[in-house]
């Protein structure tokens, strides 16, 4: 066995990536359809599906908060990881800089969404 092996901390990012990948595959297309197509065009769903009052109530519910946070944060961690690796694949080995930019923005966005969601109250 080789000596001096350093444990990779990739499992953290890979775990978030995996969770985000699954979550976005499950919910992404449906959310795009509801928020981007059905509601704006008034198709299939009641006109007030995404009214301010309803959305606010959703965001004030603890499960609703969890869902919104998961959608924003996990999608971002998924994207950050994918972008970071794609950069590497197309030959941009920006190393620590790219890592900070990709994962850092996912991290900051996660914190901001958590703070905003909490500040909306229960």
């Amino acid at each position: 066995m080789k000596s001096g092996l350093k444990r990779s901390n990739a499992p953290i990012f890979w775990g978030l990536f995996g969770a985000g990948g699954m979550f976005s595959a499950l919910f992404g297309p449906m959310l795009v359809f509801i928020t981007g197509i059905a509601v704006p065009l008034g198709l299939m769903l009641p006109a007030n599906t995404m009214s301010y009052a309803k959305m606010m109530a959703f965001a004030q519910n603890i499960i609703g908060k969890g869902f919104i946070l998961a959608v924003i944060a996990l999608f971002l961690w998924f994207a950050a990881h994918r972008i970071f690796h794609s950069l590497h694949e197309i030959g941009i080995h920006a190393g620590v800089g790219a890592k900070l930019l990709c994962y850092g923005s996912a991290f900051i966005a996660t914190v901001i969404s958590a703070v905003v969601l909490l500040s909306l109250g229960f």
């Binding site: 066995m1 080789k2 092996l5 350093k6 444990r7 990779s8 499992p11």
Partner: protein
């Protein structure tokens, strides 16, 4: 020469370390019959045009794993690839991608050999066993758990296919991880935890970005990509659960 003898142009990546600054392509016009492999085409060039052309081969029947080369950019065993499938187009053969070229089509495999050694490719019993205890018994299920991963012939086509190995030559890579998995999955072996140090290291499974091309080019259906991905899950479990287990995989 019989009348059904056709001619194919074979473009060969040549490199002589003592006289060439970099590899270059040379084209040869090779007469061939329908039963001729690309390896035989190279042999024809060596016998008739340039005796210095250097390449590896032994079995000529997709068993030994020594004749791998890039054939029109795809890593393949040249002994089981046929010239007739490329005719009338020109065919290009090059040394396997991602490895340093030693001469012409021969690459330097010493890094790969070191990797094979590093995974401890032998059964390390869970506990000492006396002769009186007799042989190990294995159920068909236990046998099936690892048999697929024993089929590797070390042809390194999967390394030539792996973009991540191309970017980071320290990555232990598909075949070595498949072999590691073969021993981990063997009911007679007890060293999975020891091997985890390598699996979970910066040279380990997380270099893989799940491209999967290794499994596509593998001539023996070893499916190294699957071995790598199973071990990603194992390494992630080890990462998060190591604090709960007294021994843990590694630091």
């Amino acid at each position: 020469m019989s009348e059904n003898l056709k001619i194919i142009e074979i473009e060969v990546l040549r490199y002589h370390p003592e006289s060439d600054r970099e590899p270059h392509l040379e084209v040869y016009k090779v007469p061939f019959t329908d039963d001729m492999s690309v390896l035989q085409g190279a042999q024809y060039i060596k016998d008739n045009f340039d005796g210095s052309l250097t390449f590896r081969w032994s079995c000529r029947m997709a068993i030994c794993g020594s004749c791998g080369m890039m054939i029109n950019g795809i890593p393949k065993l040249s002994c089981e690839t046929f010239l007739r499938d490329y005719h009338p187009n020109r065919i290009r053969i090059e040394a396997l991608a991602h490895f340093p070229i030693e001469k012409d089509l021969v690459v330097d495999l010493s890094g790969f050999i070191e990797k094979l050694e590093s995974i401890q490719p032998y059964i390390i019993p869970k506990e000492p066993r006396s002769l009186e205890q007799g042989e190990y018994l294995q159920s068909p299920q236990q046998f099936n758990d690892y048999i697929q991963f024993t089929s590797c012939i070390n042809c390194t086509l999967c390394y030539a296919a792996c973009p991540q190995f191309g970017l980071n030559p320290d990555f232990i890579g598909p075949a070595a991880i498949a072999l590691l998995h073969r021993y981990n999955m063997d009911s007679r072996d007890g060293a999975a935890e020891e091997r985890m140090e390598l699996v979970a290291s910066e040279e380990g499974v997380f270099n893989c970005s799940a491209v999967g091309y290794c499994s596509v080019v593998c001539p023996k259906h070893v499916d190294p990509a699957n071995a790598v991905n199973i071990n990603k899950t194992n390494a992630a479990k080890d990462y998060f659960l190591r604090f709960l287990s007294p021994k843990g995989g590694s630091k």
